[in-house]
């Protein structure tokens, strides 16, 4: 099922949560809505589900305008952030709930078979008669997914699906969700504030800031070609140096960088900590080393440029760090954006 959002606007009291968002999601695609808290990502997801209604704009499921269809008739599977399992029902009863309240009559045996199939799919055979309070967080997450899938939804929506789990459980579940998605091919939209999760799991990442889409693309596109300072910063550690652009060239400490397409005037140069080569002498931005932070696979060096701006960069663990030693920073893959005000 294709989904199309057409200039969606949503305001809560006086707070405008979503500003005219348009988005096309292909059938069978796995898309992440990525953004910090308050970026409107959950509100968008809830509008797709029908748990909120947009003030302006329309939502299409395939060719059908679904904007005013009630949530119970919209045919979406929704996995809530804290799972929202029914505490007084067993795992089996939770999964069967959607089938029991459905207008399509199913026999008890049919429902039991489907519950058994779904339990197998989410690898929880044998937990059918437990209550939600008796299983782990990761297991609850999978029950929530099985319950959502039980009603054969046209679209699967997940709100911060791994937010409440330990780091290693989270990584396993991500890979597992990706596998389930490949098996079932159901159009899936999920919300996260964790860029690693979005990049790991999604076919396409939609990055949001203050209720607007700031970039859409494959994980490769958003990582390699961030279109603005927000995306550059949000996707990972980034250094930021003040620069001045004249005629497509950005100058930092009299070192020039390509800045094609950036208007003349104040600008900012961004680069990742891994994209720095330190030299005792040679071309580059002059700097002094201050401090080292040891990490399992690298050393993070804190330095300050000749004009007093702080820079962090990563080196091999063997790096011979001496405080106050002078040298230059050669910057690989620099990105220049006009300064934000």
């Amino acid at each position: 099922m294709k989904i199309r959002l057409d200039k969606i606007v949503k305001t809560f009291d006086t707070f405008r949560a979503v500003h005219g968002v348009s988005l096309d999601i292909g059938s069978g695609e796995l898309v992440a809505l990525l953004g910090p808290s308050g970026s409107g990502k959950t509100t968008i997801l809830r509008m797709v589900a029908g748990l909120e209604y947009p003030d302006e704009g329309a939502i299409f499921f395939g060719e059908e305008n679904a904007t005013d269809i009630e949530v119970r008739h919209r045919g979406v599977g929704f996995v809530f952030q804290h799972y929202a399992l029914f505490p007084h029902m067993t795992i089996g009863e939770n999964i069967a709930f959607g089938m029991k309240v459905s207008k399509t009559r199913r026999s008890a045996a049919e429902i039991a078979d489907r519950v058994a199939d779904l339990l197998r799919l989410v690898q929880l055979d044998g937990l059918k008669d437990r209550f939600p309070a008796q299983i782990s967080g990761g297991q609850r997450q999978r029950v929530a997914l099985a319950r959502a899938l039980a009603v054969d939804p046209k679209v699967l929506l997940l709100d911060e699906p791994f937010g409440a789990l330990d780091a290693n459980v989270r990584r396993d579940l991500r890979r597992w969700l990706r596998k389930i998605h490949e098996e079932l091919g159901i159009t899936t939209l999920f919300v996260t504030h964790d860029q690693a999760e979005a990049l790991d799991l999604a076919d396409r990442v939609v990055i949001l800031d203050k209720g607007r889409i700031v970039q859409t693309g494959t994980p490769e596109e958003v990582c390699r070609a961030p279109e603005n300072a927000f995306v550059m910063n949000f996707l990972g550690d980034a250094n930021r140096l003040k620069a001045t652009v004249t005629a497509g060239r950005a100058s930092v400490n009299e070192v020039l960088f390509d800045a094609t397409g950036v208007p003349d005037g104040a600008a900012e140069l961004f680069f990742r900590p891994a994209d720095v080569i330190w030299r005792e002498d040679g071309a580059g931005i002059p700097a002094v080393l201050l401090r080292v932070i040891d990490r399992p696979d690298s050393k993070r060096i804190l330095a300050v440029t000749a004009d007093g701006q702080h820079v962090e960069f990563d080196t091999a663990p063997e790096f011979p760090f001496r405080p106050q030693s002078r040298g230059t920073l050669e910057i690989l893959r620099p990105k220049v954006f006009a300064a934000a005000f």
Partner: protein, 273 residues
């Protein structure tokens, strides 16, 4: 010995046990002791007399009716107070406790004045041919009035704590509002409802002050068990009074036991392991 977080267990346990013994167990023990001074045959004659049995019937039926009324009305009141925001909500919330605060005799006199055939409500109702004061309906109204807060105050906090996402989850799964209420909300409210019901019913069984003014107190018709025990007391027939009271005590114990069993069953899903 393991260190306790709060010191003073022997002292606090001692004080509470002595208190419970002096305030609760001793009077009830005296009651049973007094009733036991009758021989089994005399005891049985007193508690199974026609007048006593009629009073049990009036008390139980009226208490059941008042509790059923409060179940519906109290749930609705709790629902409205928790789920809606309207001007005067806090005032309504505060009013719920009024029957607790008001001396029951005052409530009884006020209700009698309202429902007597020349009162505001009673006048209108008697025009319709309905007589409230000095009938079992009056007893039911007095019982419902004094026990209203129990259902509201037990259901309200549970309703406040319910996770709204559960209702949303049920909606996304296609459930109608009725199904959500029946399958998702009600089972989670059930333990609180049972607790409220048993308290409300117990209070109705024991209510005295509010009822005697409105009931008319006709033996066999509108005489409640508590009043019958009081009448025996007035006649200085202490053993008979104690015998009748012991039946009320037994009824209260039975009901609390049944409620506890039902509550444990309704809460079995919260047990970990």
């Amino acid at each position: 010995m393991a260190r306790r977080i709060l010191p003073g267990l022997p002292l606090s346990l001692g004080i509470t046990l002595v208190y419970v013994a002096v305030i609760v167990v001793l009077p009830l023990g005296a009651l049973i002791f007094k009733a036991a001074s009758l021989g089994p045959a005399d005891y049985w004659t007193i508690v199974s007399s026609d007048r006593a049995v009629a009073s049990y019937r009036v008390t139980l039926l009226c208490a059941a009716a008042a509790t059923a009324f409060n179940l519906v009305f109290g749930m609705a009141l709790a629902w409205v107070i928790v789920r809606y925001r309207f001007p005067g909500r806090r005032f309504v919330d505060a009013l719920v406790d009024l029957p607790f605060a008001l001396p029951t005799a005052v409530a009884g006199i006020a209700l009698t004045t309202l429902f007597a055939s020349n009162g505001w409500f009673g006048g209108a109702l008697s025009a319709l041919g309905i007589k409230v004061a000095y009938t079992p309906i009056g007893i039911i109204i007095a019982m419902a009035f004094t026990s209203l807060p129990f259902i509201v105050r037990t259901v309200q906090p549970v309703l406040e704590e319910l996770d709204g996402a559960l209702e949303e989850a049920a909606q996304t799964l296609g459930a109608s509002d009725g199904e959500i209420f029946r399958r998702v909300l009600l089972p989670q409210l059930l333990p609180a409802i049972l607790a409220g019901l048993s308290l409300s019913f117990a209070r109705s069984l024991g209510e005295f002050g509010a009822i005697i003014f409105i009931a008319g107190n006709q033996p066999y018709e509108t005489e409640i068990t508590a009043l019958l025990a009081f009448i025996r007391l007035e006649e200085y027939d202490y053993p008979a009074s104690a015998a009748i009271a012991s039946i009320m005590l037994l009824a209260a114990f039975l009901m609390l036991a049944v409620t506890n069993i039902l509550q444990t069953r309704a809460l079995r899903y919260t047990v970990k392991g």
